[in-house]
Symmetry: C2
Subunit: 153 residues, 2 copies
DNA sequence: GTTGAAAGCGCGGCAAG
DNA sequence: CTTGCCGCGCTTTCAAC
């Protein structure tokens, strides 16, 4: 993982449809060397996959909510398993502070979100409390990660 | 946006490197019809782009934090503009409740995260308070959106 | 690491039904 | 919408350096 790999990773995050010729320019390498680096990055799972980036509004889930959840300590693992299988739950993090989990959820409407929380989350054994915050607007929402300068492997 | 488009969108979210032949199977259409649908989905910006999905740990930003921020009401727009330009800030949402913003931030270490908050966020005029929550583990973290059944256009 | 060539697959466009 | 065809371009692999 050197400077060249980092430049490649920056580029493929911005445009995953870029061809090898374009990426080779970014990398400052030949096309074949660039292809090999990308293959290695995929094999090492530094690149986990390639995905289409969709507009949430266009596909009918404009509403974004964050839910804090407090569970009993022995219900945590089962709760995580449940969250993993629920499509509207984009993220489920264990967090510091007085709550157990922070969830990021997308739904088609406020009603759908509230229904989901009361019918699925609150009904789960082990959930002691839940608190919902609604995102009223989003100045930024990206999955493009910052590439740090370190990690010279 | 019909059932076929939804199936295509589900597929390209899971595997953006899938070829048209494979997507045609998923869609239940011919390759040419599938290609045209994808082109239309891109033109309408339902598909906003194609991106490589990277492993945060592999690229040196394993630490995930959420930061609540309270700003003065006239500092909000400027704060949003600042956030948009900061790479470690993956998300910046206006939210209901007593805080103004919720940020999602990735950094290489706890120290880097705390430094970033105190040097960049807390120093910004208009920021009255900030509260940091650290994600100690993540059971799920995806950008794959649920595709709702509605919206028959 | 480089260039260059060869082979093959896939995409894009078009025609016809 | 379908099938079929054609041509270009890109990826992939290989060789030689």
């Amino acid at each position: 993982m050197d400077e060249i790999d980092r430049n490649i990773l920056i580029a493929v995050q911005k445009d995953g449809a870029a061809g090898l010729a374009e990426l080779a320019k970014v990398a400052g390498l030949s096309v074949s060397a660039t292809a090999e680096r990308i293959k290695r990055l995929e094999e090492r799972n530094t690149i986990r996959g390639w995905r289409a980036d969709l507009d949430p509004e266009a596909i009918g889930c404009p509403l974004l909510g964050f839910v804090f959840v407090r569970t009993s300590s022995d219900g945590r693992a089962a709760f995580e398993g449940l969250m993993r299988g629920l499509e509207p739950v984009l993220e489920c993090h264990s967090i510091t502070g007085s709550w157990t989990f922070l969830l990021k959820i997308r739904a088609e409407s406020l009603q759908a979100l509230e229904t989901f929380i009361s019918d699925v989350l609150a009904r789960f054994d082990g959930v002691a409390r839940a608190k919902l915050l609604i995102a009223t607007s989003s100045a930024k929402e990206t999955s493009i990660l910052p590439i740090s300068e370190a990690d010279e492997e």
